[in-house]
Amino acid sequence: MSPSRRAWIMRGLVTPIFGLLAVTCIVLGLFNATVWKPSSEITATGTVNGVRYIATDPGVLPLVDDASTLTVTTSGGSDVCVALGSSKDVNGWINGESYARVTGLSDWTTLSTEVSSAKQSASADDQSQDVAFRDSDMWTHVVCGSGKATLKTTVSDTSDSIALVDLGESGQATVSLHWVRETLPDFAMPFYFAGGLLALMAVLTASLFAMPPHKRRKRVIESRLVQEEVTVAQAISGSLARVMPSRRPRGSRRRHAGGRSRSDMDETAIVTSGGSHDDVAQPTIIDPSSRNLVADQAARNEQAERAEQSDVQVPDVARADGGSSHDRFAPAAQPASALRFDVDVATDDRTAADEPAADTTVTAAAEPDREPSSGPVAGPVTDTTDEPVAEPRGAHARVAQSTNEEPPVVQPSLPRRRRHRASGSGHAADEANNEVTSVISSEELQAYFARLAQETTGSDADGEKEERQ
């Protein structure tokens, strides 16, 4: 359906229908509030023939309202009495007599009546002591009249009071019950409500629904553009983090790096050493439940001491660590990753597409394939980015970057990785780093690395933990 055709149908057809319905509903509501308003006065009439007594069923008097007026008119003009009494008294009085029951309303203007025949003949007791209907002690109210009697009653729903009419003799009578309703049903409000809804629908069909669907959708997308972009980036980075074990978490997580057990560090050392053997992307398995915070702290302290005391030793150990069995040097390996992290943070504004490229360089198998993808990025930047990614697993490279004093150590390890990456730009980056670090003294650098190592250790653990999840 073309947009113009849709708009035509919506505005030219559906909207008028809704509008018409809305007007109709409101008009009906107005009618119900005025001329069709339920009448507060209800009068229902019934006719009874051939009986002397007429009794209302329990619940009939307070049918519409507690206050009711019962009027009985006889055709013959004879005396007629209307009494109000309890149902058992009434039943006692009319026992053995035929009588008519007023059973309720058949509609709002008609009383339903029913004649009940005598089930047994009137008792043959001595009736000399019987009193006249109007004189009975049992009635709470009694009204008599010639040809017509009117009894005004107030009977609650729970009362079992009923009315009994004595026509004096069998004949025809008209019984009418009159109530005044206190609460009237409100039929106008539903119409007003429906009319309002229909009017709203008319407005919507004329505006929003008349719009082509793709326009509406675009508008919605544009309004959410910023948020969606962030969401997509987060989603991509999240999924990549899952795919790429070597990907480092954001720097803000460093503070959560507190707990790493010694075994964790062992594994890191293993991985680190493995990194130097070109199988860096091997996933490490860490059991979070086996963490020992005390041991972590001890390890960190030890590592800090080590870093402070033997600056010169680190390279040696790192060199010996080529065999990967020396877990003790895992912390020493961290500074490099911390350094890398700094670079990471600096290059945090890389595009999402850049990240996978940098990450995949870590994976030996994937390296050749992914290499080109990192190409588009500026050479030096890519290098500094790539290198740290590779570094965390390799203590040697890190040390090489951080200390000028150990060029021999740096040289064997770095070229080994660079060989696979087939990129010479790494050397330039190393040199640049050396130039930068050469501005400060080696002691300061060592202390700085040691401090960063503590933080990075945690971030490593955090990152790994995230990966395992």
Binding site: L21, P38, S86, G104, S106, Q127, M138, T140
Partner: protein
């Protein structure tokens, strides 16, 4: 498209018709019969009881004023009709109605049952009279639905008597029967045995079942006084109390016992010795005896209304008479 419009218009019209026409007055209400079987309502309201009592007192007052007992039957029945008719007859001679016939206008308590059948009984306890006579226990009965309540009996409560407690009139008490079980004796038995105790005094085999009361004491002293006179005349006297069959009203108290009001008749036969005439023993008898010819033997018939409390079985209590009224209704020479 036209079909759609047509459908829409049809729907609108149908909606208008159904909603607007059906909704003119709302749904016709249906009577919801109150469940009267589960809750028993009192037979009378207190206002009705008061109205009935007033009607009775009016009839009573009219008869007293006119000294004509003919209109009493409209509002009196049972022993009270006999007693008050006799009192009016006596009043015709003495000029004034017995002060025991006074019934206060106000009551302190009424006991209205919830029983739905007939006859029905209502107990009402009046205040003390203006001349500080004791309270009256009024027994009103309605024999059938087409009849009105009538004063069946009046018992003047004994001094210091404590009546059992009854359900308040709004809730309604329950009527008992003459053969109620669960009591130390049935109400019927209680009346018969009490008559025996009145006849035989402490020598009655049932004397221990009945607490001493004002009526027994009064009768004993009266009998003794009369005996003195008869003895001086070498005459004899014989008192025979019998329960009037069927003349018994029972109301169950909330204490578990029954408050029984019954009619007991006394035939008092006095025979003078040594050829003397036996004369009425008091003013009332004299008024009723009138100018009839006295013989050696005089039989006075008294009607007693006795109210007694029959406690529950195993309560360890005795049957206690709580009130009574009596009047001589017939005196005749034999």
């Amino acid at each position: 498209m036209t079909k759609r419009i047509r459908n829409a218009v049809t729907a609108v019209l149908a909606l208008m018709l159904t909603v607007s026409l059906a909704a003119c007055e709302g749904q016709v209400p249906q009577p919801t019969a109150a469940d009267t079987s589960s809750k028993a309502t009192p037979d009378l309201s207190e206002a009705q009881e008061k109205h009935i009592r007033e009607q009775i007192l009016i009839a009573l007052g009219d008869a007293n004023d006119a000294k004509d007992a003919s209109g009493l039957s409209a509002r009196m029945t049972g022993p009270q009709l006999a007693i008050h008719s006799a009192r009016i007859a006596i009043a015709k001679k003495t000029g004034s109605i017995s002060r025991y016939a006074t019934i206060p206008n106000d009551i302190v308590q009424t006991v209205i049952p919830t029983d739905s059948g007939w006859p029905r009984t209502v107990y009402s306890i009046t205040t003390t009279t203006d001349d500080q006579q004791s309270k009256r226990l009024l027994v009103l009965t309605q024999d059938s639905a087409r009849q009105n309540y009538k004063l069946w009996g009046v018992a003047r409560l004994f001094q210091g008597t404590k009546l059992p407690s009854f359900a308040v009139p709004d809730i309604g008490a329950k009527m008992g029967t003459a053969k109620d079980a669960g009591l130390i004796m049935t109400p019927e038995q209680a009346v018969e045995r009490y008559a025996d105790v009145l006849t035989n005094g402490d020598s009655s085999q049932f004397a221990s079942s009945f607490a001493d009361d004002e009526l027994r004491q009064t009768l004993a002293s009266t009998t003794e006084q009369v005996q003195q006179g008869i003895s001086s005349n070498k005459g004899t006297q014989q008192q025979t109390f019998t329960a009037e069959p069927g003349a018994i009203q029972v109301m169950r108290s909330s204490d578990g016992g029954d408050l029984v009001v019954a009619q007991i008749n006394l035939e008092w036969t006095r025979q003078a010795g040594e050829g003397r005439e036996s004369l009425p023993a008091n003013d009332q008898e004299n008024a009723l005896f009138g100018n009839a010819k006295a013989t050696s033997t005089l039989k006075a018939t008294y009607v007693f209304v006795v109210a007694m409390y029959v406690p529950e079985a195993n309560s360890g209590k005795q049957v206690t008479a709580v009130g009574a009224d009596r009047e001589v209704v017939k005196v005749e020479a034999q």
